[in-house]
Amino acid sequence: MLRFALLPALLLLTVPAACRQPTPAAQAAEPHFPTLTGRVVDQADLLSPQVEARLAAQSEAVEREIGPQYVIVTVSSLHGLAIEDYGVKLGRRWGIGSKARNDGLLLIVAPHENVARIEVGYGLEKRVTDAFAARVMREKMVPRFKAGDFPGGIEAGSAELVRRLRSKQTDREIAVEDRMVI
């Protein structure tokens, strides 16, 4: 009798435990990312404390006054990943920006792989467009990086990005300025 009574209870206990979702294999393959310690994560040690402080203050003011979260990261290794892949994974891991607005902006500089990237949350794509990000990279950052001036490139690029985040232009005006195909 007791055995029968136990059976439903046992089912209740064991079955839910058996149906925990399997973890996707993709998550296991993630590299070791730097820890999000602040608005400027200088793992590759490219920035002086003064530059770091200026960048952090700029990012803090933008978030406080308008909302988007801007984080700058220099990485000592991409662990063999393409920077596009690394950038998306890091952005998702860190969860930059508000989850509802998806308004995170990430500047990644990988000096050992000679690459850099601006990663834009979906919610900011109409402000920091592909064309704008590419132009900032091409005109403000790459020439300075090529000359070995990492702090100068990061500050010049950040100034442009922040100016755009603060822009009063409508999405439409931005699209026209950036020559975006709508």
Binding site: L11, V15, C19, A25, V88, N114, V115, D130, A131, D178
Partner: protein
């Protein structure tokens, strides 16, 4: 006697409650999620298709000699946009592979066009071209991300409908069939060129 029957009756709600944690509710959720990720994939491929006529027009003005490359892109685009896969077709591997193949061919002809452009410095410094190129690169990246998210969603759904005890719900209630993931982790042609600032290739 009555107590045994009572116990047997208790088994039914107990099984229902415990199965509801896995399968009865989560299978439709996983299925909807995979279908939503498929919609993202299609949107990004559509965005790419929308950008291509602009690219072809811009390149034409500077590099008329690349006529055959441009024609190949236009034709591959027409082929790719003619193949649409609805969310309900995702259980048909042939349809998904056909879609993937057509988009892959478009990626390759687009890749060849962007390589040929290297020979035209005036075009490469044209602001319209640069803006278009960055949008295409951005779209290629979004395609890669959308494909990866779709594959993860499909993998999760397919695993669920095959794993005990959800497999019971999958078979009995939904008649669930596995969905088709993308085969290739995007071919090289689809990889957007990286902004490199050194002497070594980035």
């Amino acid at each position: 006697m009555t107590r045994t029957r009572l116990n047997a009756l208790l088994l039914v709600p107990a099984a229902a409650i415990s199965l509801s944690g896995c399968g009865i509710n989560s299978i439709p959720t996983a299925e909807e999620n995979a279908k939503a990720r498929w919609a993202d994939v299609q949107n990004q491929y559509q965005r790419r298709a929308d950008l291509i006529p602009n690219l072809v027009e811009t390149v034409k003005g500077y590099a008329a000699q690349e006529k055959s490359t441009l024609t190949a892109v236009t034709e591959a685009r027409a082929k790719a946009t003619s193949i649409q896969v609805s969310a309900n077709d995702l259980t048909d591997p042939a349809k998904v592979q056909q879609f993937e193949q057509a988009q892959g061919q478009l990626s390759q002809s687009l890749g060849r066009l962007l390589v040929s452009v290297e020979a035209y410095p005036d075009l490469k410094s044209n602001q319209n071209f640069l803006a278009l190129q960055s949008q295409l690169e951005g779209t290629e990246n979004r395609i890669t991300v959308a494909r990866g998210d779709y594959n993860n969603a499909v993998q999760s759904y397919n695993t669920q409908i095959r794993t005990f005890p959800a497999v019971i719900g999958a078979k009995v209630f939904y008649g669930s069939k596995p969905m088709t993931p993308f085969q290739a982790t995007s071919p090289n042609a689809e990889k957007a060129p990286t902004v490199s600032f050194g002497n070594s290739a980035g």
